[in-house]
Symmetry: D2
Subunit: 415 residues, 4 copies
Amino acid sequence: MEVSKIPAETSLIERWRQVRAHSIAIAQTLSAEDCMAQSMPDASPIKWHLAHTSWFFETFVLEKLEEFESEFIAFDPAFRVLFNSYYNGVGEKHPRPQRGLLTRPTLEQVLAYRKNVDQRIARLWQQVVAANDTAQLQQLQTLLELGLQHEQQHQELMLTDIKHLFWCNPLAPAMFSTPIDEAYSNPSLSSHSKALQWQTFDARLLEIGHQGAGFFFDNEAPRHRQFIEAFELGDRLVSNGEYLAFIEAGGYQNPALWLSEGWDWRQNQALQHPLYWQLQQQHWRVFTLHGWQALDLAQPVCHLSYFEASAFAVWAGARLPTEFEWEYAAQQRPDIADWFAHCWQWTSSSYAAYPGFAIAPGAIGEYNGKFMANQYVLRGSSCFTPAGHSRLTYRNFFPATARWQMSGLRLARSL
Amino acid sequence: MEVSKIPAETSLIERWRQVRAHSIAIAQTLSAEDCMAQSMPDASPIKWHLAHTSWFFETFVLEKLEEFESEFIAFDPAFRVLFNSYYNGVGEKHPRPQRGLLTRPTLEQVLAYRKNVDQRIARLWQQVVAANDTAQLQQLQTLLELGLQHEQQHQELMLTDIKHLFWCNPLAPAMFSTPIDEAYSNPSLSSHSKALQWQTFDARLLEIGHQGAGFFFDNEAPRHRQFIEAFELGDRLVSNGEYLAFIEAGGYQNPALWLSEGWDWRQNQALQHPLYWQLQQQHWRVFTLHGWQALDLAQPVCHLSYFEASAFAVWAGARLPTEFEWEYAAQQRPDIADWFAHCWQWTSSSYAAYPGFAIAPGAIGEYNGKFMANQYVLRGSSCFTPAGHSRLTYRNFFPATARWQMSGLRLARSL
Amino acid sequence: MEVSKIPAETSLIERWRQVRAHSIAIAQTLSAEDCMAQSMPDASPIKWHLAHTSWFFETFVLEKLEEFESEFIAFDPAFRVLFNSYYNGVGEKHPRPQRGLLTRPTLEQVLAYRKNVDQRIARLWQQVVAANDTAQLQQLQTLLELGLQHEQQHQELMLTDIKHLFWCNPLAPAMFSTPIDEAYSNPSLSSHSKALQWQTFDARLLEIGHQGAGFFFDNEAPRHRQFIEAFELGDRLVSNGEYLAFIEAGGYQNPALWLSEGWDWRQNQALQHPLYWQLQQQHWRVFTLHGWQALDLAQPVCHLSYFEASAFAVWAGARLPTEFEWEYAAQQRPDIADWFAHCWQWTSSSYAAYPGFAIAPGAIGEYNGKFMANQYVLRGSSCFTPAGHSRLTYRNFFPATARWQMSGLRLARSL
Amino acid sequence: MEVSKIPAETSLIERWRQVRAHSIAIAQTLSAEDCMAQSMPDASPIKWHLAHTSWFFETFVLEKLEEFESEFIAFDPAFRVLFNSYYNGVGEKHPRPQRGLLTRPTLEQVLAYRKNVDQRIARLWQQVVAANDTAQLQQLQTLLELGLQHEQQHQELMLTDIKHLFWCNPLAPAMFSTPIDEAYSNPSLSSHSKALQWQTFDARLLEIGHQGAGFFFDNEAPRHRQFIEAFELGDRLVSNGEYLAFIEAGGYQNPALWLSEGWDWRQNQALQHPLYWQLQQQHWRVFTLHGWQALDLAQPVCHLSYFEASAFAVWAGARLPTEFEWEYAAQQRPDIADWFAHCWQWTSSSYAAYPGFAIAPGAIGEYNGKFMANQYVLRGSSCFTPAGHSRLTYRNFFPATARWQMSGLRLARSL
């Protein structure tokens, strides 16, 4: 599978075609059986991702703009329920933990559904372009862009979810047979063997949130002011080697390092190391999309929960940065390593609305706002994030116990 | 799919071939995706059934008789763990609730595994026959017969498990497209519209358990004496119509009819009717392997838990028979309807060892004995039971809450 | 506290007085706080036992015979709900797991309730005796006897429940301060240090169940015939020393010895020994109503679940007796040790109705019958059983996982 | 019970005496039985509160300053474990859900423990004052003040916990028999029948957190700068009448109003109204420490979870304020009604460290910091808060589902 970065100047409709094709490319390395299984309620089958991203276009573009598309007929009315993820405004939903029971529709039928939606979108695009109605075109562009960004989010989830599924299988299948695929692996980062340097940032009132013309999710707005006290930030991500030192120093046995809820959870789960790590005959190895690999101590540590990231930071005499500190530093010092493309970075910020945040009317308003409780913000992006999907103001979010995402950390300290 | 009754006189090796082919025939109506999903921990994927029944031959025939088979090499050592159901004596087992995560091995690989095992069994058979060693031949025959009977048990489970899976799917797929398949449906039983007659049986000391030369499971032995007080038994199974009367009389709302544990369970589950029933616009329908069908009031009621069967019996002024009463009556009055081939019949007998029951040494001893706690015996057989697999002394058993099996009831009364 | 055996010839009303007084005597060693706590849903607070046994007399004697008692007025209408244990026929019940939240009524109020009920019962008795109406008198006698037997059952539960509560308290309070109270301890049984002898019993058709004039519970009837194949039975209970040998032989680590459901449960609970045992500095000790005591190897082992008793029996090359074998042997050989007064003995018999068993009409019919599912019969009696409450045909019953009762075992073998 | 406001100028040791006496005064209206029960894991028995607050003084004052107290001997070494709430640094803890099983020590013993601790503290105070060592005195003062504030927090919990316990009892006991006790009831607030007015606040950079000489908890520091965008705030709390309108408008049935996790929780719990509300014969009533009372529509709504408060705010076209907005407004406009003494007010702020927050070394550092995950800040105080315990910068915190605290809300809007 080849993943080429999409040049920024590419037209919307061309980008849309490439994104749609990229989902198919991911699935092509997998069998119909691989695409069906759901390893836990948090993860979804690949087939479901393929269908749901098409459902999104059918529901929020084709159905919403149905006056533009002369002959709107649902591909299959049952899909409205089956592939609705969490939009109460659209109606009934198939229960999330049962997505892996949908042996029908088959993968073949889902691919036909994708093709049908793509044809209808392409036709709609041509009609609207031909009609030369600027308002219509703008509305279509906005929704297409949202659907495309949404699909890119699911492309990352496809990889994290299949990784979890394959890890559950004692046969430990490898998704990619090529030695190390640059697009989907943690590139070996020699920089991580060098000592961490602290970068200093002055107290400052600055603007946070999206600015300018490009696409952004509603939760990145409105741009607003935050006052940030002086702090310092590590100039690289925490490495596997550093995390291993925490383990070997008894970090998983010392409640003084942990948040109270995190400690209870760690004990119930009997956790001793990050997800996907395994100690085998005194050698640590880690499960990847290429199967089991020896643990590379120089690489950034990944697959940590918020609770683990926080405990490590306390042990290291530091703390997690707030999302505002992260954005401030990444904005001021783009030269610092690892902001993007290695792993998402837990921040200490609870996922919350920016001042003046308004939820969009209708089902589309459920995209982000309703999840603003008991989740923590991750900033940056990971090696699983599709090319072109990263952004300085991007706010990813997961519960404090989530570990199957590409989640690591960067240290901060108050001054 | 054609299911022809295997004539009794068929040779063992020929019967073995037919049974093995029948499993494939069941799976052939299904896609690889259908064969992979597991709808609940109690059920297993079809692919798993196909593999496990082959594992059984590989482990308990090929491996056990390895001195007969000059060159025993496991098809895949990992399968020893993956497809072990519950035999602690064989070693590790893959966790039961995660059988639906095994996207690998693929269905194709499992079919290759089956073919490989079949070839090795056939070769072993030829070698042993050629060797003309009676002891060896007898041992091989005993194990082949056990494996064949074991596979027939799984053939029934394949049908109950796929039925449950398809019922979980809002698309309600039908496994069989032909109108009503005689082999796997409840045949319309006009006899059930006639009034139930009570058949009387005198008090008697009689022998219970398997007798004679044919195959039997260890739990059917030893044949021993039981004294049975006089009783009467219904001359047919309880019908859907009769059960509907129980529902409409408030049977699911009246704790006085229920066993205490059953009532608590019913309330927690908010049960109002048998599994697979649904009231739609004031008409009852029932889910079958042919999809949703109108409820036929004359057919035997099916998919009841022990608790429901017991509550119905109390409501009807009767009780469930013991398994000894059942065997006594079926032995004495083979002319009475419905002993076999419609649905399994709950008895009030807890699944327990017969006096003198001895567990076989080794892993094979785990086949039946270790389940003798908190389960109830069902007698007879169902329309899902493979031809030739029914037996007067057969003891099926499930927990009191199991409903996805073909389980109905027949009434009894003490005299 | 003095526990004197009540002579058999004592009049009913005198026995009733003594039984009522005995409950108070048990509670007198405890504070109001001790009487309030509930250590687990299976156990009840002492205060609740004191109130419920009075509720039983109020509901099933005073209220039922209300035409005999000219001026029936409930002591407190709310008590009808608060102290109903499980009688759906009487109406609402307070949720069982919340019995420990009833700080009101106070213990003092409950004692006043007891006194009130006792006065009304005594008055009713005088009125009925004076009226000289044989039918009335007989009905009253029957219900008083049932209430009295019911209260004796709760006297045993009061001891097992307070034992569990005190064991949960790190202060390990002792209920009795006197060295060893004969009535409530396992008397030192020197006989248990001698080798176990097997007693042989021939195959025989014999009558099982209550016979004669004395009191019995409905589940002990009707007397009926059972054919029992030849067997042998241990001439004493299994001792702590023998059970310790099972532990030391790895009995808790060997799944081959366990029933399948029992093994899963043992693993989930991480059980390594009977309830109330503890290994402290390489010495076993056991919690009793006198606090922690050194384990006496010669005493009968106690506080076993059915699953543990069964695993031990398999390890010992034996099995549990059926309840019919037990009754047969105890009937034929009353000279054998330990039938009664040490600990209840698990049998392999699932708790089920005797042929012809009929549930009494009304709420009183809920006494026994509705529990006949997923429970196992224990025979004999224990050192906690009140004097005069033991009986050859007595059927005690608990789920296979219950361990807080005084439950041990006696071995059997088929011949 | 009389609750007199403690004048601010009262000396520390005198305030300490009054606070200690106040805990006893609360318990004096209750029986030993009332003081023992625990209605849910979140709540604790009164006896436990009485003991734990003494344990706090024994552990963090007497033991810590043991060189000042010539003859330190623990009152009872077992209490170190029994009455440790959550301080891992002190050692083992009794499991929280089992606090209601501690029938021993008795209430009497706990009161003796309190008296003993009080005597030792008083003696220590005299010794240190006599020694005339400023450093020692200061250290003692700091710890006494912390223990006193800690005890006041538990005084509020004693009331919320006993309220929950009494609500669980069908007898619905009233703690106070006097008509309406001013100190512990929602005073009738006529102001709540008037229309809500919005108060406007300009965007501003301001200082947040404790300032000055008085006592404060570590989580209120360090004082630091926050930039707050312009907003408006309701000039009074939301009333029962307004919340009832939300209920009647279907607020509990409309997922569009709820946070996603809140909606799932509401459905699982089948919630339809605030805790302690009940609709009886078409009249709403509410459970209080005086028993059931008619719902007063003019009073502030109370006993809401964060999720309910948030859903109401969305329905009302508003939102919850951040804790910074709350502090800003309360600082600028102390004349606005209801900042304190009615009910705690949910804010949208996740409980997190202020910039530069440092956890104190030793077990005392566990006081606040380790709870900074998945909890939300409440500001103000309630009618259950002891006199003198309220503060502008006070940060109370509970999980989003907590409802048994005195928790209401005040509306905010961005400008």
